[in-house]
């Protein structure tokens, strides 16, 4: 079955986000160390996006085999009501997903431990400042400190990914 057909016949699930984020993380690191900074950063931003979405959906009680399409749409609706000032950016705003995670956990009376929340917020903010999905059609030559900031942030987020939904 051709790849395109495989993708179309198997909608993304929560566990796909975990597996795809691992693939993208290591591919992104390879690109960084090979000198393809912009492409590496582009992929690593998606890693954060996938891990934040995964955590948001799991704390809502989703199963790892659940498809994410409906959850994305319902989160957009939730966002319009609860965090209307944060743009949705067509599902790609890292700051949006960070706020969904933090606020939903607080609303469920199980906020992230303070130290974890502060560190996560800091790393997502660093990524937000150095990544945007619009990079896909723009040639870029990131500075080494931007590259380092992205690497540090995403490596921390990946290392703590299972703590966000506990």
């Amino acid at each position: 079955m051709p790849l395109r057909h495989r993708i179309k016949t198997n909608p993304e699930t929560l566990q796909d986000l975990e597996l795809a984020s691992e693939q993208a993380y290591w591919a992104g690191i390879e690109l960084l160390v090979s000198g393809y900074s912009a492409s590496g950063i582009y992929l690593l931003g998606f890693v954060a996006e996938m891990l934040l979405k995964r955590a948001c959906f799991l704390i809502d009680g989703a199963r790892i085999s659940d498809g994410i399409f409906a959850m994305l749409r319902s989160t957009r609706t939730w966002g319009r009501q609860h965090i209307p000032t944060i743009p949705f950016e067509n599902f790609h705003n890292l700051d949006f997903w960070l706020n969904v995670l933090i606020i939903k956990r607080r609303n469920q009376n199980r906020p992230l431990p303070l130290q974890l929340e502060v560190a996560l917020s800091l790393h997502v903010k660093n990524l937000y400042e150095n990544w945007i999905v619009d990079m896909r059609y723009k040639p870029e030559w990131p500075l080494s400190e931007e590259e380092q900031s992205v690497y540090d942030a995403i490596t921390w987020i990946r290392a703590h990914r299972y703590e966000f939904d506990q």
């Binding site: 016949t9 198997n10 909608p11 566990q15 975990e18 199963r63 790892i64 085999s65 299972y162």
Partner: protein
């Protein structure tokens, strides 16, 4: 036309049969053959479970995962998993080979 507010979920005979057989295999594993259950113990991270089985056939990835999770959630006694699972993938042997998943 009447409006109803409840759905009755129909489970296909294939799903029921594969669920039953996987549950049986999990509790009384054969020495060889399929389904082959691979549990990657990644503590402190959650487990990854792969079930390699050519009888998955035309079932979607999502259906296969649901079967595995249904079985895992209904395990009892010594078979019961006490650690969280973050990946439960059902693969045919061809798919497993493509993904580079081979048990030791």
């Amino acid at each position: 036309m009447p409006i109803k507010h409840q759905l009755r979920r129909t489970i296909s005979p294939t799903v029921t049969e594969l669920t039953r057989r996987l549950h049986e295999e999990w509790n009384r594993p054969k020495s060889d053959g399929q389904p082959l259950i691979v549990i990657l113990n990644k503590k402190p991270d959650p487990h990854h479970i792969y079930v390699i089985w050519d009888e998955w056939g035309d079932l979607s990835q999502q259906q296969r995962s649901e079967i595995i999770l249904d079985v895992v959630e209904n395990l009892a006694g010594e078979s019961r998993l006490t650690w969280p699972v973050s990946v439960a993938l059902g693969l045919t042997s061809e798919e497993a080979e493509r993904m580079g998943i081979e048990p030791d």
